[in-house]
């Protein structure tokens, strides 16, 4: 791949020509805000927050979807760029519920972060807001469409596992929303509770329900562990507070890792001090179950018990 030399905010850098402006900027430690961008996902350029100004072009360009070209002179912080970003963020805030006090995502929410960076606030108005469409049907995932900023990351990550493709866009214009299958609840839908969507959602629209009320993003400590259920070894974070391990949350699936519920439950049982009861989906209904059943261990345990009688474990 040929190299090109470009200028970003007055600094020169030589990079491979297949890089996007956003990727090149990262190499210079220039952070460009972006809500729908994820290096693991297809580029869609939907949030428009990563716009930059390129000398010689009178339009703003999204840095995630524009490739670098020899001699490009890019300004990531011009007055025009900052105004567009502020407007975009304000438009998102104007439709977003003012719920940072109790939102589970607070502290790691990107909308919150960028609002802080650009000095923006929620404001009162008489116009439309996203309708309240809280889906509490799943014991694993809380889906709050009112908080959704429609970045589509959940849809893209879900579709990366070919037999899932549960999430999609529905309706259009301001009424656009993310739905499961044919606008079903998470419970009725074919959702397998893998939590891929939760790991990529930049806001509080998809959160890990087993985390609710236990710990906030800035509290306690966390340790990354790999799941031992299969050879993929998906990563989880074990969250601890006051020497107790209180929860396990999935980390974004990278390198083709799928994430699955079984692995999550395995990891949870292994690490969490006081795990909540697991649930299984049977015929489109979540039912509380035992750990043995949830992990498919009933027969194994029976066998072990039987064997244990015959051959007492060696000391």
């Amino acid at each position: 791949m040929a190299n090109v030399t470009i200028t970003i905010d007055g600094k020169n850098i030589t990079v491979p020509s297949d890089l996007s402006i956003l990727e090149a900027a990262k190499k210079l430690d220039i952070e460009i805000p972006a809500l729908c961008y994820d290096p693991e996902l297809e580029i869609v350029a939907a949030c428009r927050l990563c716009v930059v100004e390129i000398e010689g072009s009178n339009k703003l360009q999204t840095s995630c979807s524009t490739r670098v070209k020899e001699g490009m002179n890019i300004n990531t912080k011009s007055e025009r760029v900052v105004k567009a970003r502020k407007d975009v963020l304000q438009l998102l805030l104007d439709s977003h519920p003012n719920d940072c006090l109790t939102c589970q995502k607070s502290g790691e929410c990107y909308l919150q972060k960028y609002a802080y960076d650009y000095g923006l606030k929620f404001r009162e108005h008489n116009g439309a807001m996203r309708p309240e469409l809280l889906d509490t049907s799943s014991p694993y995932i809380l889906k709050d469409n009112a908080k959704c900023i429609l970045c589509g990351k959940c849809v893209r990550t879900c579709a990366q596992v070919s037999d899932r493709k549960v999430l999609s866009f529905a309706e259009r214009g301001y009424d656009t929303k993310i739905v499961c299958d044919a606008d079903q609840t998470m419970e009725e839908s074919s959702c397998v509770s893998c939590n891929r969507c939760v790991t990529v959602c930049p806001v509080g629209a998809l959160v890990d329900k087993r985390l609710l009320g236990k710990i906030r993003s800035w509290e306690g400590t966390s340790k990354v562990v790999s799941c031992k259920s299969c050879q993929y070894g998906c990563e989880f974070e074990v969250k601890s507070k006051d020497i107790n391990n209180v929860a396990v949350v999935a980390r974004p699936p990278a390198n083709g890792r799928p994430l699955c519920l079984k692995g999550r439950l395995n990891t949870e049982l292994l690490y969490v001090d006081n795990p909540e009861e697991p649930y299984r989906k049977i015929g489109g209904k979540f039912v509380e179950t035992s750990w043995e059943k949830a992990l498919g261990l009933t027969e194994v345990i029976e066998k072990l018990e039987k064997l244990g009688k015959k051959y007492p474990p060696s000391k």
Partner: protein, 529 residues
């Protein structure tokens, strides 16, 4: 197998039949050079290229089409011109896309021609979603073969063997006639395998659009053909390199394709002699609104608006004053009366903040409120936004809320500035053309009719007398004091002594209009203002 001779044979046999039928109908002039044109005043100032066969041939007859030199350009090119030469001619003709953006067709074709791949596609954009537009529909319904021929020429030139026509399902007649035309062309051997024995294969299939306006946007249309949700793609690659199923793809509009065969029949020089230097040829417009003679008109590019509205359209209805004309549909701008001498071509319209668009042309008279018109168009865009990107999905909604507020008489100081600033962000930050142009009706009306916005906001008046919430019923000094209005008023807000002028208490008035009806016609003292 079909041969050149056989094609000429068909023309020779069938042409007299067509001419006899037309002579009998009597609505055409048949010229010595073989051209046939519709007669009558309405057509005098028009120059018809894309519509040249409309209303003349029977769209269900391929023989009719061949009799007016149809498919002769395609056949000749197959035998006598290299693909590179066809691309060169196309570029030299400077035919610009008629679907809205005016991109040079030759340059687009050249991109796909140069890009090597095992499969390439030609797509005809027949989604025509602008409200009130029916240019493409008319071509599809009345002359479907010319679109097929244009696509086949393009396919041969760039090396595509498969074409798709993406047509609105709401155009059932167009769909039916296209189906018949494709069948006939295949049967004759104009489409299909080894066309005219040259070894060139080209097939065309129909795809029905679901009626979403945004599916007319090239990349959204491709997504839709691929079976996905019709949302525009971000342009990391050119469609001419990676389009449909990631293969080199040409998308052109119906009217663009309709121009192609004629350009090759009559030559690049002939084509460039019509229209302007930078916008050669003609453009079809759907002239509608408050104009005497509404309808489809095809005129040379560069014709002043005035000639279209007055000389062809017969001026404003009912002798009212001309106020503005909107070109380019919901993405276009309002052009005020003082600019009526603007020549209609891509550059001139862009210079005054409007666009050519696909050819909508709505005439407005003195009773049209410009704020309400902006609101009307924006309402359409808000409904049709695909919801993908933030500035368009959220921004146009807020803009509409601001316009609603102004039209309802609740506008506040600063609303105009808010709209201008919001428009700037929506225009510069939206992903596709829909968002990028959505604010045009608002910005142009603010630019040319700012006083009307101010009247709504500051004086709570609608100067055009059209916004219901801002109207006021008023009793003039013609009042004879009969008291009929006071009796008719359901909220008893009219006072006055008998035989003296009555007064309406504007605070109490519910604007039902009962007083106006009650006032004796001979007196007519109650007015709306």
């Amino acid at each position: 197998m079909l041969t050149l001779d056989k094609l000429q044979q068909i023309k020779k046999e069938h042409r007299p039949v067509l001419e006899a039928r037309l002579r009998e109908a009597g609505n055409v002039d048949i010229h010595e050079d073989g051209s046939i044109v519709l007669n009558g005043d309405y057509y005098k100032k028009q120059v018809r290229i894309a519509l040249k066969n409309c209303g003349i041939i029977n769209p269900g007859s391929i023989e009719d089409y061949i009799s007016v030199d149809g498919y002769s350009a395609f056949a000749n090119l197959l035998f006598n011109k290299s693909r590179a030469d066809i691309i060169e001619d196309m570029t030299a003709s400077n035919l610009r896309g008629r679907g809205g953006a005016g991109f040079p067709t030759g340059r687009k074709w050249a991109e796909a021609f140069k890009y090597d791949d095992d499969q390439k596609y030609m797509i005809c954009n027949a989604d025509e979603g602008d409200p009130g537009a029916f240019m493409d529909r008319s071509i599809l319904e009345n002359d479907p073969h010319c679109v097929l021929e244009g696509m086949a020429i393009g396919g041969y030139a760039v090396g595509a063997t498969q074409g798709f026509i993406y047509v609105r399902a709401e155009y059932p007649i167009a769909v039916k006639r296209l189906k018949i035309a494709i069948e006939q062309a295949k049967e004759l051997g104009i489409l299909g395998k080894n066309i005219l024995g040259t070894g060139f294969d080209f097939d065309i299939e129909l795809r029905l659009g679901s009626g979403a306006f945004v599916c007319g946007e090239g990349t959204a249309l491709i997504e839709s053909i691929e079976g996905k949700r019709g949302m525009p793609r971000t342009k990391i690659h050119r469609t001419a390199h990676k389009g449909l199923w990631q293969k080199p793809t040409i998308i052109n509009n119906v009217e663009t394709y309709a121009n192609v065969p004629v350009i090759f029949q009559r030559g690049v020089d002939w084509f460039r002699s019509i229209g302007t230097e930078k916008s050669p040829g003609t453009k079809v417009f759907a002239l509608v609104g408050k104009v005497e003679k509404a309808g489809l008109v095809e005129v040379p590019m560069g014709m002043p608006l005035r000639e279209i509205v007055y000389d062809i359209g017969g001026g404003v209805q009912n002798g009212k004053a001309f106020k503005a004309v909107q070109t380019g549909g919901p993405s276009g701008g309002c052009i005020p009366a003082e600019l009526i001498d603007t020549p209609v071509d891509f550059e001139s319209l862009a210079k005054i903040g409007s666009i050519m668009g696909s050819g909508g042309m709505v005439v407005m008279d003195e009773n049209t409120c410009m704020v309400d018109i902006a609101r009307f168009f924006l309402d359409f865009t808000v409904e049709e936004s695909c919801g993908k990107c933030v500035p368009c999905r959220e921004g146009t909604k807020r803009m509409l809320e601001l316009l609603d507020k102004v039209v309802e008489g609740n506008g506040e100081e600063g609303d105009i500035e808010r709209m201008v600033s919001l428009a700037d962000t929506i225009t510069s930050a939206s992903l596709c053309g829909l968002g990028q142009t959505a604010s045009n009706p608002v910005t142009t009306t603010i630019h040319y009719f700012r006083n009307e916005y101010e009247a709504h906001i500051k004086d709570h008046k609608c100067p055009a007398g059209s916004c219901a919430a801002l109207l006021e019923y008023f009793i003039t000094d013609k009042c004879i004091g009969c008291g009929k209005c006071a009796k008719a008023c359901p909220v008893s807000c009219i006072s006055g002594k008998l035989k003296e002028r009555h007064v309406i208490d504007q605070e109490q008035c519910i604007k039902c209009g009962a007083c106006m009806e009650a006032c004796p016609p001979k007196v007519s003292a109650v007015i709306k203002r």
